[in-house]
């Protein structure tokens, strides 16, 4: 560190650096308390022994991970085979989260495009309208959705009323209902980053592409999508990650068949039936998966940048 400034005033720059450290302290505290500490706690809990009434005994044990991956028979005395129950829940959750992400993208991209191409003065109003439902608590919104789509709810009654169907559509406790719940919960997380990317997009580029004989479709594929890609990726991550761990929508709108990771974890920390180390282990496995997905993305993005 031999910048011209530090050459002349070594004490001053040292003092400045000390001040930076002090100014950053709140950030470090926040990260420590809200990020590092809870994750560390989960990691520790996942290797402790289950206490009978819920909670943990401070005794090292890999039982939680064992329970997740291996089946040793009803009495634990058979040779271990791979346990599919929880892996199946994971696969189903990933599938549900992927579907929710795709639906959010299909609806969110045109929505974001529409808002970003309005006159600057009215964009704020559109964004405001998008966020209005989110002033209400997620739980209440999800319950309301259930009331809307239940057998004798307004949706089914309206459909029967106009003679489109004879008996109510069984929507509650289906995958469709869970999808609807996830879509409704996370759509703005798709719209907002894509909106930010499209708003920065220089529409002269679309004119240039058209001028060079590209059709509208080809312009979208070759020019627009690659340029707004960071917004799309951010939106997909912001929908996919919380969808993967969601438990309100699957719990309230789905049934046993739509059991997802979030609900599995949620259950482990409820009452005396719970299993804290197992819940912590499932959380750690989920977090590891998400981290791997993010790392793979970051690497491919870095490669794309370098190319």
């Amino acid at each position: 560190m031999a910048g011209p400034l530090s050459d002349h005033t070594p004490e001053g720059s040292g003092g400045y650096r000390g001040l930076v450290g002090a100014l950053l302290l709140p950030t470090w505290i926040a990260i420590g308390v809200f990020l590092v500490l809870p994750v560390a706690l989960m990691a520790v809990y996942s290797v402790l022994t289950k206490e009978f009434r819920g909670g943990v005994d401070w005794q090292f044990s890999l039982a939680a991970y064992d329970q997740f991956f291996l089946n040793r028979g009803l009495f634990g005395d058979e040779p271990p085979v791979l346990e599919w129950t929880y892996i199946a829940i994971f696969l189903r959750s990933i599938w549900q989260a992927l579907l929710a992400t795709v639906f959010c993208l299909l609806i969110g991209f045109p929505t974001a495009w529409f808002i970003a191409t309005r006159p600057a003065a009215s964009r704020g109003i559109w964004l405001f309208l998008i966020t209005i439902p989110y002033w209400v608590n997620l739980l209440i919104r999800t319950v309301s959705l259930k009331f809307l789509i239940r057998d004798n709810g307004p949706l089914n009654e309206a459909l029967i009323g106009i003679g489109l169907i004879d008996s109510p559509l069984p929507l509650v406790n289906t995958n469709l209902a869970v999808q609807l719940g996830l879509f409704y919960s996370y759509l703005p997380f798709m719209v907002l980053p894509i909106y930010a990317a499209v708003e920065r997009y220089n529409f002269a580029l679309s004119e240039a592409a058209a001028d060079l004989y590209a059709s509208r479709w080809v312009t979208l594929r070759e020019i627009v999508l690659p340029i707004v890609r960071p917004g799309i990726v951010a939106g997909c991550l912001l929908v996919f990650i919380p969808s993967l761990g969601a438990f309100l929508a699957p719990d309230l709108l789905g049934g046993a068949k739509t059991f997802m990771i979030g609900s599995l974890i949620d259950e482990q920390f409820k009452g005396s039936l719970g299993n804290w180390p197992f819940g912590a282990a499932v959380s750690m496995i989920l977090m590891t998966l998400v981290m791997i997905a993010l790392l793979v993305y970051a690497r491919s993005a870095a490669k794309g940048e370098a190319a």
Partner: protein, 352 residues
């Protein structure tokens, strides 16, 4: 030479605002044609209509005899150099240049070769693998030019392409653009508000103002024989003097200046009454006595190569004169009474 682009009574309206009032002009093949005018005169609108980015409200645009009014931009055999280049930021320089060829279905090896040639033409071969953001403004400008030329369009549209460059680069690019146009033989339609650019590069110029074409002609026509007050004032510097037309005979008019001086000059029409007279400041010389006009020197400005003399006619009108700086010249002082001799034919009577 046939007409490359024939614009017939084209009108453009945005709601109640009329951007173009029935513009007609014919651009010849292989011509460097410039649309010149102040901002808001409709020149860019006209260019964008040729490219296909704006609809034609009324009238028609023929491109090599074909009416292109209803054609999408991607179906028109013209390419554009955009004002702020509009290079694709995610593609390399070479891929930018090859984009049009790719869209035309030219095989990869062939389009790389042809794009490479165009990059060579604009002296950027060494930068083929760079991203546009890594280039300077002048280099980006050249890439935009190469990209628009690569598909070998029949006409190239240039929308103020030099306006974002600094002066030195702008002057160098003028020469290069003109050379490129001559080498490729492509019709260039160049939009600018900079009259110097227009005068130095163009085969012909259309001066536009407020949605009308004021005059079409060569640089020399514009400068030496402006048809109206707007053109005389817009192109170069001039003295505009209000005069009364005393008599018209044989294509020559006798006009009376504010101070009572009389002059004979070519008459554009045989109408009498009040008109404006345009006299270019460099077409006037200083004489000790017996000039066409008699003035009082108000100020002398030293400009290096030239001297600018600001003087006042007896009638109250201001006249400025430019004379070449030379040791042989007796520089007048402020307050001197001097005579001005106007070159023959240099005073032009204008239609308002």
């Amino acid at each position: 030479m046939s007409d490359a682009i024939d614009i017939r009574r084209v009108v453009k309206r945005y709601g109640t605002f009329v951007a173009l009032h029935g513009v007609s002009l014919a651009i010849r093949d292989n011509e460097f044609f410039t649309l010149l005018g102040p901002s808001g005169c409709g020149k860019t609108t006209l260019l964008r209509m040729i490219a296909g980015f704006e609809d034609v409200t009324e009238g028609e645009i023929l491109l090599f005899g074909q009416n292109i009014a209803g054609l999408e931009p991607n179906r028109r055999p013209v390419n554009t150099v955009f004002q702020h280049y509009a290079l694709f930021p995610h593609l390399s320089v070479l891929d930018n240049v090859a984009f049009g060829l790719k869209m035309q279905g030219v095989p990869e090896a062939e389009r790389r070769r042809r794009a490479g040639q165009k990059l060579e033409m604009v002296h950027l071969s060494a930068f083929a693998d760079r991203q546009p953001a890594q280039l300077s403004g002048g280099q980006q400008q050249r890439v935009a030019l190469a990209r628009a030329l690569a598909p070998e369009p029949r006409a190239l549209l240039l929308d103020e392409p030099l306006s974002a460059l600094d002066l030195k680069l702008r002057q160098a690019m003028r020469v290069e653009l003109k050379q490129l146009q001559e080498e490729t033989g492509i019709t260039f339609i160049f939009v600018t508000h900079d009259q110097e650019e227009a005068l130095t590069m163009s085969d012909r110029i259309a001066v536009m103002s407020a949605g009308h074409v004021q005059q079409i002609g060569t640089a020399r026509d514009m400068y030496e024989a402006p048809v109206n007050r707007f053109v005389a004032d817009f192109i170069g510097e001039t003295n505009l003097l209000q005069v009364d037309v005393a008599s018209v005979a044989g294509g020559m008019a006798r006009v009376v200046l504010p101070g009572g001086h009389q002059l004979t000059c070519p008459a554009a029409s045989d109408a009498g009454g009040q008109h404006h007279l345009s006299i270019r400041p460099e077409r006037v010389s200083l004489v000790a006595s017996g000039g066409d006009l008699e003035v009082t020197v108000e100020r002398v400005v030293y400009l290096g190569t030239d001297l600018q003399i600001l003087a006042r006619l007896d009638g109250g009108a201001d006249v400025h004169v430019r004379i070449q700086n030379s040791a042989r010249i007796a520089v007048p002082s402020v307050g001197d009474r001097i005579g001005l001799r106007i070159e023959e034919g240099a005073a032009r009577l204008l239609v308002d």
